[in-house]
């Protein structure tokens, strides 16, 4: 059976890529539109990434408990 850990790792990669894209853009695009884009799009997307990562991790831990229940008997 496949565990959720590869999915957790992959989601971590895509969330980190968005953070890197924001950091890279912030070095060259300084005006108020970038600040607005950060506030309206990038930060809410990162919040959603964090929220989804927490849900993925919770599902991963619960599935691990389920596997442990099976293998302990």
């Amino acid at each position: 059976m496949t565990l959720l850990s590869p999915v957790v790792a992959r989601h971590g990669d895509l969330a980190a890529a968005l953070v890197r894209a924001e950091e890279s853009a912030s070095r060259t695009w300084h005006d108020e539109r970038f600040a607005m884009f950060e506030a309206r799009v990038l930060r809410p997307l990162q919040d959603e990434d964090r929220r989804f990562a927490a849900a993925l991790e919770a599902a991963h831990q619960t599935l691990l408990l389920a596997y442990q229940s099976l293998t302990s008997s």
Binding site: V7, A66, L70, S73
Partner: protein
């Protein structure tokens, strides 16, 4: 200043790529997580069924032993107890997997919905910002001022200058901008230009996409509606398929592109195969569409 604008334009294009990549990868992750959970639940259920069958078999053997009044049934009784514990453990695993799924699925739906909305909003934002920056570059490279309107482009009439940001929620007709990459049109009946037999050509639709981006969307952002575009058609002597009114009506009226959102974060086409085909051919990255869940 010009270097700063060029850098901003480059950053904007990078952000656009990053948003599209994030959207694609996010859809893949959502799909993968759903498959893992579903596979786990099926595997746990199958294991529970096997253990129940073992337990039933153990009980039958034990009952048969008791019925024959033989004196050596204790081993079978122990097997019944052992298989019973294995059933309880498998049942617990099934309940835990169900619990994991029921807690995760709302989060999965929310992530798909919000990522899609924010990505569409972000792409719309960047689309609105790019012409402003490009027009600045055009103007400065030709000695004009920063407020000059964009020249060239699709050869359409001058767009409304400095369009405000178009949010996905402000598009007319309940439509929203959807990335073309997220649309699954693998079942499209449109195979090429020969599939256009309804009175308009691929070139007509390319014109319409240009009109959409250059005139209609900026106009809609200023709350201009069908009457305005009819009047503008009249003034510019545009008629039929190559008119702003037809463009507005086609993208936001009854015949708007209609998509159904799938559980994997992609969209199935209910109406609009021809426009989606043209969008792909023309390199258009997002289309307005009415989305049903």
């Amino acid at each position: 200043m010009s270097d700063e604008v060029r850098a901003a334009l480059s950053a904007l294009m990078s952000l656009r790529s990053a948003l599209l990549q994030h959207s694609r990868d996010g859809s893949d992750v959502v799909g993968a997580a759903g498959r893992v959970l579903q596979d786990a639940r099926q595997a746990f259920a199958a294991d529970l069924a096997r253990r129940i069958a073992d337990h039933n078999e153990a009980q039958r053997a034990y009952q048969a032993c008791l019925a024959q009044r033989k004196g050596w049934c204790s081993g079978l009784e122990a097997r019944v107890q052992r298989t019973q514990l294995r059933v309880v453990a498998a049942h617990r695993a099934v309940l835990l997997a169900d619990e994991a799924a029921s807690a995760f699925l709302p989060a999965q739906r929310r992530y798909s919905r919000e990522s899609e909305r924010l990505t569409a909003d972000g792409l719309s934002f960047l689309s609105a910002a790019a012409p402003e920056l490009e027009s600045y570059l055009d103007a400065t490279s030709h000695g004009g001022g920063a407020g000059a309107t964009r020249s060239g482009g699709a050869g359409l009439a001058t767009a409304v200058s400095s369009p405000p940001l178009l949010s996905a929620t402000t598009l007319p007709g309940g439509t929203t901008l959807v990335p073309v990459d997220l649309i699954d049109d693998s079942d499209s009946p449109v195979k090429g230009p020969e599939s256009f037999t309804k009175g308009y050509s691929p070139e007509d639709l390319r014109w319409s996409f240009d009109a959409l981006h250059e005139v209609v969307l900026p106009g809609a952002a200023h709350d201009l509606a069908l009457d305005y575009f009819r009047d503008r058609d009249h003034r510019e002597r545009l008629t039929g398929t190559r008119s702003y009114a037809a463009c507005y009506d086609g993208f936001f009226g009854d015949s708007a592109i209609h998509l159904s959102a799938g559980s994997d974060g992609r969209y199935v086409v209910a109406n609009g195969y021809h426009r989606i085909w043209v969008a792909r051919q023309a390199g258009v990255t997002e289309v307005p569409a009415r989305v049903s869940r």
